[in-house]
């Protein structure tokens, strides 16, 4: 009872990376709280899935295996989870901040009248003293996220309500096998007894899962542009440099909002989190929401006309100047001097 629960997301018959990342984080939180780590996985043809989850630290795996649970639909998934949470009374429930997790978690929080924090970048255990009621709370989940357009970082707590729910962005937490030999317990959920027709009023008619053509998450070098690039045309410079270096092109939210680059290239809090060995930031001012998605880059080069751009403070190299001047010189030198 009162364990940590992770919702395991299935995507193209595979466990989503973000779910394994949450297991790794959940395991370390569970150790701190001296409780178990439990996983709930819903879908169809899930035979044997528990074995993969055990080695990431799951002590208990709840499986709901039914054709009607795949593809994902809000109502049946939330119904099974709310039923399980009501019985098991978790202290913490974690979801990926994905299309699915952000659709599902609020529905559960509303049904259970408990607090939920979206898009956390960090989770910690801590205490809280409430002056008004002279109450001390221990072992609370600190849910840490950038807020308010990235101008502040807020630590959110839910002192009174359980479970404490949070969604976490993909790629923000590390994914590590806990122990290849770790074994847990499998618990099958009889979902059939929970469902009625009203749970299936929304039907999936068709679906194109487009694997991202651009793979900025896996790129070793990223050339990223911000609003300061100025136009979609100017972004071509970034593509030129990326092509020469074998890099991918990324963009800040401001650049995507301005239509300079496609949404799938967005890096940061509301986009993808990346950890390349080299990050070249072109005309990016560096709001925290952007930095949240690239701060673990091994090396950062910032090219910006504004010497005071916040991103310069985390850059290894700061080139104060125009990208239209700088990038062609970089390309020229590289072409001449690399094999």
């Amino acid at each position: 009872m009162n364990n940590i629960f992770v919702y395991c997301e299935i995507e193209d018959r595979e466990i989503a990376d973000v779910s394994l990342e949450l297991l790794t984080k959940g395991k370390s939180l569970a150790k701190q709280l001296a409780c178990k780590l439990e996983v709930i996985v819903l879908g169809s043809d899930l035979n044997g899935i528990e074995n993969k989850l055990y080695k990431y630290g799951a002590d208990v795996v709840h499986v709901g295996d039914d054709k009607r649970l795949s593809p994902y639909l809000t109502l049946p998934h939330s119904k099974v989870i709310v039923d399980l949470f009501t019985k098991e009374k978790p202290q913490v429930g974690l979801f990926g901040a994905t299309s699915i997790g952000r659709d599902l978690a609020p529905r559960i929080a509303s049904a259970m009248k408990c607090g939920l924090t979206a898009d956390c970048t960090s989770l910690e255990i801590g205490e809280h003293y409430e002056k008004k009621t002279d109450t001390k709370y221990e072992n609370l989940l600190y849910q840490i996220r950038p807020a308010f357009g990235g101008n502040i970082v807020a630590t959110i707590i839910n002192p009174e309500t359980r479970p404490q729910l949070a969604t976490v962005r993909e790629g923000v937490m590390k994914m590590e096998v806990f122990d290849e030999a770790h074994k847990g317990e499998l618990k099958k959920i009889n979902v059939d007894e929970l469902f009625d027709d009203a749970d299936f009023v929304v039907k999936v008619i068709e679906r194109h899962i487009e694997n991202k053509k651009v793979n900025i998450k896996g790129a070793g070098i990223i050339v990223a542009g911000g609003y300061g690039v100025g136009s979609k045309e100017n972004f071509k410079l970034l593509y030129d440099l990326a092509e020469v270096l074998g890099a991918e092109v990324g963009a800040s939210r401001a650049a995507v909002d301005a239509g300079f680059a496609e949404h799938e290239r967005q890096i940061g809090q509301t986009g993808v989190t990346v950890r390349p060995k080299l990050y070249i930031a072109c005309g990016i001012s560096g709001q925290i929401q952007h930095r949240a998605g690239m701060t673990e880059s091994s090396m950062v080069i910032s090219i910006n006309t504004d010497e005071k751009a916040p991103i310069n403070q985390i850059a290894d190299y700061v080139i104060t100047g125009d990208i239209a001047v700088t990038i062609p010189k970089m390309i020229k030198y590289y072409k001449k001097n690399s094999k």
Binding site: P106, P146, G149, K203, E206, G286, Q313, I314, T320
Partner: protein, 291 residues
């Protein structure tokens, strides 16, 4: 097919793209008074899809609902200028400090009072919080199915709507019966501009509170043109458990707020001159960062 009653949830938000130092109050909540207030961008996308649905299904009506302080009536006027038929401003000090759960409760109770309705539209998320929670939570409280991240209305038939959704990886077309709640993604079409005729018609639309400051002449006009009245509802107009509202009804508390301070790192300063760029590229090639 029968006419639809459509509700659009819209929020007036501080323009978080231009934030000054006085933006936060000591208790960690946002000092909205210090910031320019705008129509939340994705709520405009929601309004556009709602207007398209209204255009497609003859005789349908569209009511825009917003919760906020008195000045949020501006959001309703914007909606009227673009084709909404009615507006309701839900405003009360008792809502102050609401998190998403308390907000969705107040909105759900308001929508319940607006019955019957067929479709509730809302933006996916608001730029001041980026949580994307209020839409699904309102749906849960009203026991409605939800379709999140809508990008396009594919088709509408009697008692069925087909919606294309924008997902992290790809798209999906789903169908639902009515009533349903739909949240709209920024990839949906931009909202149509203000209509000049509607702007003339509604520019003097006001809430009861706003009318108090107006002259006698204006009151005469107002009496004769009932469409100028923007409904203003308070806690007393809806059925609610007051303990579930505002700061007290919000399970999430802000423990700590940190202004963003960057950890300064030793960085090498360069110019775009040839020798600097060449030196940098040489270093990157030599230490195998590139190449």
């Amino acid at each position: 097919m029968k006419a639809l009653k459509i509700i659009v949830l819209a929020k007036q938000v501080p323009d978080t793209r231009n934030v000054g130092k006085d933006a936060m109050k000591a208790d960690g909540t946002v000092n909205r008074a210090a910031l320019a207030a705008i129509f939340n961008p994705e709520d405009l996308n929601a309004l556009e899809l709602a207007l398209q649905l209204k255009d497609q299904v003859k005789g349908s009506s569209l009511t825009i609902l917003t919760m906020g302080p008195g000045r949020a009536a501006e959001v309703i006027r914007e909606g009227l200028y673009r084709g909404a038929d009615h507006g309701i401003l839900l405003t009360d000090r008792k809502f102050a400090g609401s998190d998403t759960l308390a907000t969705s409760y107040a909105l759900a109770q308001t929508i319940d009072k607006m019955k019957p309705y067929d479709v509730v539209f809302a933006g996916r998320q608001a730029i001041d919080g980026d949580t994307a929670q209020v839409g699904p939570q309102v749906a849960e409280k009203l026991n409605l199915p939800q379709i999140t991240y809508a990008e396009e209305i594919v088709n509408v038939k009697s008692n069925e709507i087909l919606i294309k959704r924008r997902l992290d990886r790809g798209v999906e077309v789903v169908s639902s019966s009515f009533p349903v709640l739909i949240t709209v993604h920024s990839s949906a079409p931009d909202c149509r501009p203000r209509n000049a005729k509607l702007l003339m018609k509604y520019k003097h639309a006001k809430t009861v509170t706003e009318i108090q400051d107006m002259s006698e002449d204006y009151l005469d006009i107002f009496q004769n043109r009932s469409y100028l009245k923007i409904e203003e509802w308070s806690v007393n107009d809806i059925v609610v458990d007051e303990e579930a509202l505002g700061l007290g009804g919000s399970p999430t508390k802000v423990k700590k707020i940190e202004n963003v301070v960057f950890k300064a790192k030793e960085s090498k300063k360069l110019t775009p001159l040839d020798e600097d760029i060449d030196m940098l590229m040489k270093e990157l090639i030599e230490n195998h960062t590139i190449g």
